[in-house]
């Protein structure tokens, strides 16, 4: 038996080494030191340089919203026949961006993609802030925003109830559930990491605040056992949730009779587009941040590479949907349907259509090449272009479909007003202000999750203390 083993030894298959998730074999303690340092050190100059303009832009948003509420919805460019303009474009765009965060935190968790741990916290924060920006628009486009509480089934002296047969009502439930569950999921993930910050804090105020929000977490294994089950259930329900949210958003359009909107392909096509744009935003945020916060060993080139691949896959699904839409428009035989799509291609807004096509379909094809996926500058620029492309997708769907419908006497041309533009810029201010505050005060990497995927955390690995060459 022993002799047999000796003979076989040189021929034993070499174990395939997996690329590590944390580079340079960093220890478990290094991960908490490095991530906590972002919240502990002196505020870096670049942070102020980013925060001040973001904050000013957020103030601009405040002014625009006050102006809009006091004057009325006429300050926006929406007018007959384009009754939905930048408000709904920006709503769909922002909420779509949020979807990547949930995909990373929930769907990749269920698929056991361990690399998600490096990026999930920041992506979930992005989700929450993007949904906040999105929520502003439908709340304000109602015109009389002080009556928005009519959207919820609250008993009133009018005895009136919301009308649940309308997809707009479904949207209220979908978006508010999405926001609530995303916050719960994010906070549940934060609890053990807040305990890390609590246990490291040097000042009383930090100890008190982090201690308060860490809810008395001790790292007990009896707690971890319930915690992990809870996290699994949250991931399990967030997955159908994220798929349903953008499906329901798409039903706002698809349930109507308008050519260009009345399409059965919308739900999956919107979900793929949402994830596509969300990964664009994750890349836009994390490529500079990993450098600024010295997190290159946690958000590695492999993470960037994998995110580019997801962008390529979802971008190609979106491209397929665009072509399928064109085919169905021709195949339907409906002259209105055909005209709606011809009008997109060479109507007065053709520039919007071709911007969308080149940014969403052609550009991501570059990610087939590893050289490009490894070039941070190219990836960064491409990620911004992806989001521009996805903004134009919503522009194409909403404005181009509305501006020319069945009757030529009903046609018009839409242009945004300065209020539209400033409000949109203002939502960026809100988004970046919140994101910068988040990364300065909360752990922007899911520390305990990243620790859990290192070999040092595996009791059956030699780095985790198992005897060398022991059973795996």
């Amino acid at each position: 038996m022993a002799a047999e083993k000796q003979i076989q030894a040189p021929f034993a298959p070499a174990e395939l080494a997996r690329e590590p998730l944390v580079n340079n074999n960093r220890s478990v303690g290094w991960i908490s030191d490095q991530v906590s340092a972002i919240t502990e050190g002196k505020t870096p100059t670049w942070w102020w340089a980013a925060f001040v303009p973001s904050f000013l832009m957020m103030c601009l948003l405040g002014c625009m919203l006050i102006y809009k509420c006091s004057v009325g919805v006429g300050v926006w460019g929406n007018n007959h026949p384009t009754m939905w303009g930048w408000d709904i474009i920006n709503f769909v765009w922002w909420i779509g961006i949020g979807h990547a965060g949930t995909l990373i935190s929930a769907i990749l968790f269920l698929l056991r993609q361990k690399w998600r741990t490096g990026v999930n916290r920041a992506a979930e924060a992005m989700t929450i802030f993007a949904v906040m920006c999105a929520g502003i628009y439908p709340a304000l486009h109602t015109g009389r925003e002080w009556l928005d509480w009519f959207l919820f089934p609250i008993p009133t002296s009018n005895s009136l109830w919301p009308q649940f047969r309308s997809p707009l009502m479904w949207d209220v439930f979908a978006v508010s559930t999405y926001f609530t569950v995303s916050c719960l999921f994010w906070y549940t993930g934060l609890v053990p990491d807040l305990a890390i910050l609590r246990d490291r804090s040097k000042t009383k105020i930090r100890k008190f605040l982090y201690g308060l929000f860490a809810l008395g977490w001790t790292g007990s294994n009896r707690h971890w056992s319930n915690y992990e089950k809870c996290y699994l259930i949250l991931a399990g329900v967030s997955t159908p949730l994220v798929l349903s949210v953008h499906s329901i958003v798409s039903l706002d359009f698809a349930v109507s009779q308008l050519p260009g909107w009345h399409t059965t392909i919308f739900p999956p096509y919107f979900v793929a587009g949402a994830i596509f744009s969300g990964f664009g935003m994750v890349l836009t945020l994390l490529i500079p941040l990993r450098k600024m916060c010295k997190l290159e060993d946690i958000i590695t080139m492999r993470h960037i590479d994998l995110m580019c691949k997801v962008t390529l896959a979802t971008g190609s699904i979106v491209g397929y949907a665009y072509i399928m839409e064109l085919f169905i428009a021709w195949y339907s035989g409906s002259p209105y349907e055909r005209y709606a799509f011809l009008n997109r291609i060479h109507g007065p807004y053709a520039w919007g259509y071709w911007t969308m096509m080149s940014c969403n379909v052609l550009l991501p094809q570059l990610f087939w090449f590893k050289k490009i996926r490894q070039n941070l500058l190219v990836v960064f620029i491409a990620s911004i272009l992806v989001n521009i492309g996805m903004w134009f997708e919503r522009f194409v769907i909403i404005v181009i479909s509305l501006h020319r419908d069945f009757l030529p006497s009903n046609w018009g041309y839409f242009a945004p007003t300065w209020v539209d533009i400033c409000t949109f810029l203002g939502t960026f201010g809100l988004f970046f202000t919140l994101f910068l505050l988040f990364m300065r005060f909360l752990p922007m990497i899911a520390v305990s999750e990243v620790k859990g995927v290192t070999p040092q955390a595996d009791p059956h690995h030699s780095l985790g203390g198992a005897p060398e060459g022991g059973p795996h």
Binding site: W161, R222, V237
Partner: protein, 179 residues
Amino acid sequence: MSTNAKAYGILAEYDTPADIMHAAEKVRDAGFRKWDVFTPFPIHGMDHAMGLKNSKVGWFGFCGGVCGYTTGMLLIWFCNAFDYPLIVGGKPMFSPFSAFPPSYELTILFTAFGSIGGMMFLNKLPRLHHPLLKHGRFAQATHDKYFLVIETDDVKYSEAETRKLLEATGSKHIEMVEE
């Protein structure tokens, strides 16, 4: 250790996940009930090493989900078909199909609340005070050290014997924790 404070338990520190896992197996086999392991991250296989059963959080989530779906369906039926029936576009007053999307969302919402509430309830959190959190060395439990604590309330506990058991598991640092 001061003499007037009651001891909470005995704390043993370990350096690697493998060490604490083997220690947990020994403590489990010795038949202790009131003891726990504290780690910076969940260690795969630790539930088995401690002899823990599958977590019950799932039941809380499930009950939440059932409540959510029922609430959604009943609410929509009550609003649109019972309390104030109003014909809109010739559609039925109540249809399970148009009532499905909001009920689906409420199922998810209530499941999330149910499982988080269940997790908090089972873990007895939030808890703003814990004897271990006062202990200086224990702060490393969220950083890179692994701790095992046997409470003095355990029927099998005896200071000398338990300390000997923990020493045998290879802990480098053992000390008492006050209440």
